[in-house]
Amino acid sequence: MHAVLIEPFTVPFMRRALAELLLLALLGGVVSVFVLVRRLGFVADTTTHTVFPGVVIGHLSAGAAGVLPGALVAAAVTAVLLTLLTRSGLVTDDTALAVLLAGMFGLGVVLVSRRPSFTSDLTAFLFGRLLAVTTAQLWQTAAVAAVVLGVLGLLRKELWLRAFDPVTSAAMGYRAWLLDLLLNVSVALVVVAAAQSVGTILVIALLVVPAAAGRLLSSRPLVITLTGVAAAALAGYGGLAVSYRASVTYGIPLASGATVVLVLIGLYVLALLWSSLSSRLEGVRGGA
């Protein structure tokens, strides 16, 4: 057990990777609850793709230092376009999202495909370089987490009302576009924070699965949030340990980001089994 659970994290780069994942677990666990109640799964998926051209342009114009600003600009553009498109009412939300996703990702691909290092660049964006996380990146993630958690914490009752009963929220005078924009920007910031380290594949899972798992076990917002954060943290720890063990001992180079997601999905399936089992037991007890 010790060899699997403790030993991997005696190496500094593994410790940094774990710290990054735990930060993202806290961030993703909390944001995913809002994504769940506002049904922003597709919005989150779209944002993970639309940040890509920003990363490419940033990298082309200023090297590694340009990635974060580029991603931030693309995220801001996405959040604004999303809010505008979904409020225009000309096409349904999901159509607008899919077009935006494919169009902006296509732009990123076109730009990056002119470079000789095309495939490795694209792969880095999709997977991140979790094991190469620097202390500076950890601080960036912590800063994003502080901003996003602060904003969502302060606005949680307004966001909750907007999600539950949009007409009454508007009737009370809350500005829907402002609340939507703030939440879209928060989602985009999580994507930006995570894109460099864990890549976009992990982000969509992190923005959806924790709260979905928590929702299976409880209908109380606080419990959903705590369960989600715990599941994401556990998946980060477990996935990292497993992928390390697989590559060091068995020579199988499992992508660490994908392994983390698979562990998270595993926890989700456990929650699913548990909730259907307990509801069945309740049914038996109720019937008796």
Partner: protein
């Protein structure tokens, strides 16, 4: 005589060039309860949304408590139809009622002890004090409607707008709603209730406004909800 709680003066509301409501005039005073009666698609919800300032008025004017609808929102409470809300939403009855206090608590602040007390009192007023911790979606349709009315009560409004509150509601909940609405009226709250149930319009309201694209009659219930006027409104004929 003070300002009426609600004054709709020859208002026209249009969606995309087509007028849904034309030349509508209604007045609601403090302590008055007005039934908004008309067939489906008559524009009842549209009129309520115009009073809430959620749809623009193309011509004429809507004045709420002497102010524009947007400026009066703090003193206006809206009760949506319960079945328009997601029953799976993770929220308890007490949390729904507490939402009525949000505007009082203000942006960024958590509701305090006074807000919680007001919410508990409102939930008791609709007879659901014992269901405070139940998830909203696990309640019956009638109980959900009562929780939404409790939220409006917790808002302590001067004007209350209810959108088809009796739709698909069992008789126990119907009675509880009628009792709570009556208590509000005695406190001087003005109310507008849209419904197509004439019996309940008689029970809950003292005045009525007969609507189908335009006003077919407005005044005391007994004088408006007559067979002749109803026939005219429901067939859309001039009366």
């Amino acid at each position: 005589m003070a300002e009426p709680a609600l004054l709709v003066d020859r208002a026209t509301v249009a969606y995309g060039g087509t007028a849904v409501l034309r030349d509508v005039s209604v007045e609601v005073c403090d302590g008055q309860t007005v039934a908004l009666v008309g067939p489906n698609g008559a524009g009842k919800s549209t009129l309520i949304r115009a009073v809430l300032g959620l749809v623009p008025v193309a011509a004429g004017a809507v004045t709420v408590l002497g102010r524009s609808p947007a400026a009066a929102r703090r003193d206006v409470a809206y009760v949506p139809q319960a079945d328009t809300l997601d029953p799976r939403f993770p929220i308890s009855a007490a949390q729904v009622v507490l939402m009525g206090r949000y505007r009082r608590a203000g942006w960024l602040r958590r509701p305090g002890r006074a807000d919680r007390a007001a919410a508990a009192e409102a939930l008791a007023a609709v007879g659901l004090a014992d269901r405070a911790r139940a998830r909203f979606g696990t309640l019956s349709g009638g109980q959900r409607q009562r929780v939404l009315l409790a939220r409006a009560i917790a808002q302590q409004p001067r004007l209350l707008l209810l959108d088809e509150p009796f739709n698909g509601v069992d008789s126990v909940s119907q009675d509880a709603l009628l009792v709570a609405i009556g208590a509000l009226r005695r406190r001087g709250t003005a109310a507008v209730i849209s419904t197509h149930d004439l019996r309940l319009a008689h029970l809950a309201c003292d005045h009525a406004c007969l609507l189908n694209g335009r006003v077919y009659g407005v005044g005391p219930v007994a004088r408006v909800l007559t067979p002749d006027l109803l026939h005219a409104a429901y067939t859309g004929r001039a009366a």
